[in-house]
Amino acid sequence: MLYLMILIIGGIASYFGPWWIIAPVALALCWWKAKTPKEAYLTASAATVTLWIGYATFLNATADVNLIDKIAELFTGGVGFLAKVPKIAFVFTIMTLIATAIGGFAGMSGVQMRRYFK
């Protein structure tokens, strides 16, 4: 339930707001619904990752040009070890790392702060 709420409310907020808006959304919802910091971290990060990767997959699938490949190449320089990683995997890994950290710590802090005030 919490997962779905973060996904839906976070999705709507992200569509209109700045990229980090998912953090306050996850924080607030976990404050309200999550039981333990661990649960909050896992649920919020899973929801954020789902949201980011899901939307990215949609944008990439409907795009005329594969921009993911071009951006990946810009970062890996097209040489060395990183160049051997499939480009989409490289980009999605970065997205996942960012989404896990932002969403996870936001959710976790919701529960921890609630405990402080109660």
Binding site: L59, A63, I98
Partner: protein, 816 residues
């Protein structure tokens, strides 16, 4: 402790968001960039982005319709001129804002602000050229020119309206990567963009390199090896054209260059780039199948993505014109309307001269001129780095222009006073408005209108070609030309002698021109404007004559031509230089005893002299002639020590007629005197060895000309994955199809004039969109490489129907 226990995760989150929201070192803001909701994925496009739309904008007075065709070329239909240029600015910014701003940062030497310290030297060079200061002055002067200032203001308003609408999500991806935002557009920035063109086309000089040759070898050698007119030439104004004016007198002083130097002059002023040239021609009705003129133009520039050109049609009750515009500039630069067509190629006359300056002291407060100490003007230049750091630099101006090169060493002028070199450069002329020529050409109806338009142009001087449906064709090397004595500015001038100042200007009406010549066509390919009978001095060196010779040969033979005949000439790959020299070179190779070279020699013998994409002969020829030039000249005239090599024309003449010239000897071998045969054979072997080393043994596939040439269209900001490489096509420098590794025809256009309605064909190596996420970023490249042209949609009225029109953007005035 309790606070830490409960708030640490919150602090981690806030810290992470902060870090990912801002650039760290060279890294862009990663969170923002990779978020699918705001980042680069928002720059992807698909069909849904290209549908009809309606906008309400404050800047327009009346309804404007912008109809896009299948190449996403906008056809703007406005009800008045202000709305027309407002909309031109708006749609151009929508497609190209990053590129527009980038050019202005280059010209004003402000790249460090967005890319950081690595651009400092480049910025410093551009600031020393003084372009920003001249642009500011021009923009100020233009305020008194009611037409130009009205157009510039309307255009800037359109650009700014678009800028005010973009949020981070819609920013071009380059802004996201570099972490900055577009700033307000002003008429000054449009002038900066034009400065960029002046610098690209007129911003090179060999004055230092040839002065070094004089210092070392004397005037006699220079006269022999660096003549003022080539042996083989086919000038733009046909030989025999009468000059019906009485020229102004010009006095030549006895001393024609500044005193010799102790050391070689070493400066980082680039040589004029011969590959940055262009072709244009027009055939009269006597040669065309329609009985009316056909005009062709292909300006050769550095190939970039986004492209330097932007196609559009501009229409309102006072004008209806189609063609290409420069991003950042209102109006159409090369194009056609119902009655006329016009185009440009670079003239390349000598309009950048250097003066040796003698200062009175180390602070350089005064300099000597006409036996008096004249005060210098100093400006403090500030470079803001991306990091916020500010670096300062002092720029010194004399009446000649800016001192672009400060040398610390003492010189012959006076052992105790520092010297420097000031630059007199046409690009810094602040009179007149180059925009007016395009304004008038866009509206021109006949030859007289063309001639009137020409008087409104300063620089970079262009060969303006013209054709009308009244069956007139004409060409005019046009711009402001300094009135010079013969060879003035070939060498470094003496900044203290008033006789060395520019003497005035060639009166505009005395610029070389020809109308309806008996040969039935006019043409230019950056070669000499005229033969030596023209009473004024324009320069001693122009682009090699080979393209011009080939174009004129083919046009002379052409009859009953149509647009496709001219298109085929644009793609002509015949190598005129090879025709001139290869038979002679091959006779020397006959004596070769190297068995390993036999297959390569055989290829050269069988080569049809065409630089086609598959030609191995072209690969060897191009590499070999470069190598041969170095073998002959680089011992006496080392280019690393800033000495100029004689031209290809002079070199070929020496190979053919002066086979015992002392220059063939390699002076680096002390106890041996090399013969011409040894140099030709040796350089051939070195060429084959080098090609083998880099590409493996000779093989028709790996040594194919297109493979070796590897034409690439690089991204303007040098992002590799935003570039196109390995384009398979023929051509080369000195070939009519002047496609080299990184330069080439940046727009190809052919227009068939007609009494009713003209037919235009054209295309450029790029796409209308500056967005790398759009398929219209580079959609014309393959067709361009194949040498094809698109049929251009030149609409008569806003209601015209065509299967090629895809969507309409309607702009309505916003009700306040």
């Amino acid at each position: 402790m309790k606070i830490i226990k409960h708030f640490w995760s919150y602090l981690v989150m806030v810290g992470l968001i902060f870090l990912l929201h801002n650039p760290i070192g060279p890294l862009p803001p990663l969170g923002r960039l990779f978020s699918p909701f705001e980042g680069f994925l928002q720059n992807t496009t698909n069909k849904s982005t290209l549908t009809d739309s309606e906008l309400n904008l404050e800047g327009v007075k009346d309804e404007v319709k912008v109809i896009f065709d299948e190449n996403q070329v906008p056809h703007i239909f406005a009800k008045n001129e202000d709305d027309l240029y407002f909309t031109q600015g708006y749609v151009m910014a929508k497609d190209r804002i990053w590129q527009m701003e980038f050019y202005t940062l280059v010209a004003s030497g402000r790249l460090t602000e967005v890319v950081g310290e690595k651009a400092l030297e480049f910025d410093r060079y551009n600031r020393r050229l003084g372009m920003a200061r001249a642009a500011a002055k021009i923009a100020e002067n233009l305020k008194t020119d009611s037409i130009s200032s009205r157009i510039l203001t309307a255009y800037a308003k359109g650009v700014n309206t678009y800028i005010s609408q973009i949020d981070y999500k819609n920013l071009p991806v380059e802004y996201k990567l570099l972490g900055y935002k577009p700033a307000e557009w002003t008429p000054y920035k449009t002038i900066l963009m034009l400065m960029n063109m002046r610098s690209t086309l007129n911003g090179g000089s060999d004055d230092f390199r040839i002065t070094n040759v004089v210092d070392q070898f004397g005037f006699e050698t220079v006269k022999d090896l660096f003549p003022d007119y080539p042996v083989e030439e086919s000038p733009i104004i046909p030989v025999g054209t009468k000059w019906d004016f009485s020229p102004l007198p010009v006095k030549t002083p006895t001393k024609i260059m500044s005193g010799a130097d102790d050391d070689k002059l070493i400066v980082k002023i680039p040589s004029p780039a011969p590959e940055i040239g262009s072709n244009n021609w027009a055939i009269g009705g006597s040669k065309s199948s329609t009985g009316l003129p056909i005009l062709s133009n292909d300006p050769h520039l550095g190939l970039t993505l986004p492209s330097i050109w932007y196609q559009m049609q501009l229409s309102c009750p006072t004008v209806n014109v189609y063609g290409v515009a420069l991003p950042g500039c209102p109006g159409i630069v090369i194009g056609f309307n119902k009655d006329i067509a016009w185009g440009v190629t670079n003239v390349g006359s000598d309009v950048m001269d250097f003066y040796k300056i003698r200062f009175n002291n180390a602070e350089k407060t005064h300099y000597m001129h006409n036996d008096k100490w004249i005060p210098t003007t100093k400006y403090i230049e500030q470079y803001r780095l991306k990091s916020g750091l500010v670096i300062k630099d002092t720029l010194i101006y004399t009446h000649h222009g800016p001192v672009v090169y400060n040398e610390s060493k003492t010189t012959n002028f006076n052992k105790n006073t520092p010297a420097g070199h000031a630059m007199r450069w046409i690009a810094l002329e602040t009179t007149g408005s180059d925009l007016m020529i395009f304004h008038l050409l866009n509206r021109a109806k006949n030859y007289d209108d063309y001639r009137e338009a020409l008087t409104h142009y300063t620089a970079p001087a262009q060969n303006f070609i013209f054709a009308s449906n009244q069956n007139d064709i004409a060409i005019t090397p046009n711009g402001k030309f300094p009135l010079k004595w013969k060879e003035q500015g070939k060498y470094i001038l003496d900044g203290s002698m008033p006789e060395h100042d520019w003497q005035g200007w060639i009166p505009m009406e005395q610029n070389p021109t020809v109308k309806n010549p008996p040969r039935g066509f006019v043409s230019s390919a950056n070669q000499f404007s005229t033969d030596p009978t023209y009473p004024y001095y324009l320069g001693w060196k122009f682009a090699p004559s080979s393209r011009g010779i080939r174009i004129n040969e083919r046009l002379t033979a052409m009859t009953n031509a149509n647009a496709d005949s001219l298109r085929s000439l644009q793609n002509d790959n015949f190598n005129v230089s090879a025709r001139r020299i290869l038979p002679t070179l091959l006779t020397y190779l006959e004596s070769s005893k190297e068995a390993s070279l036999a297959p390569a020699i055989d290829i050269m013998k069988k080569w049809d002299l065409v630089n086609g994409p598959d030609a191995v002969g072209a690969t060897i020829y191009e590499a070999w002639t470069t190598e041969l030039g170095n073998w002959i000249w680089d011992d006496e005239f080392p280019s690393k020590q800033f000495l100029l090599h004689p031209s290809e024309d002079r070199t070929f003449e020496m190979i053919k007629k002066e086979s015992t010239a002392k220059w063939f000897d390699n002076t680096n071998t002390k106890d041996k005197v090399e013969t011409i045969s040894e140099i030709i054979n040796g350089s051939f072997k070195a060429t084959i060895d080098s090609l083998t080393l880099h590409n493996g043994p000779m093989n028709p596939e790996t040594w194919a000309w297109a493979k070796i040439k590897n034409t690439s269209i690089g991204h303007l900001g040098k992002i590799g994955s935003f570039s196109r490489t390995g384009i398979m096509n023929g051509g080369g420098k000195g070939i009519v199809n002047a496609t080299t590794a990184s330069t080439g025809p940046s727009w190809r256009m052919v227009v068939e004039l007609d009494k009713e309605w003209p037919r235009g064909y054209g295309l450029y190596p790029g796409g209308q969109s500056g967005n790398v996420g759009s398929k219209y970023y580079d959609n014309m490249v393959d067709k361009w490489a194949a040498g094809k042209l698109d049929t251009l949609v030149f609409m008569k009225t806003v209601d015209e129907k065509s299967a090629k029109l895809t969507r309409t953007m309607t702009i309505k005035p916003k009700n306040k």
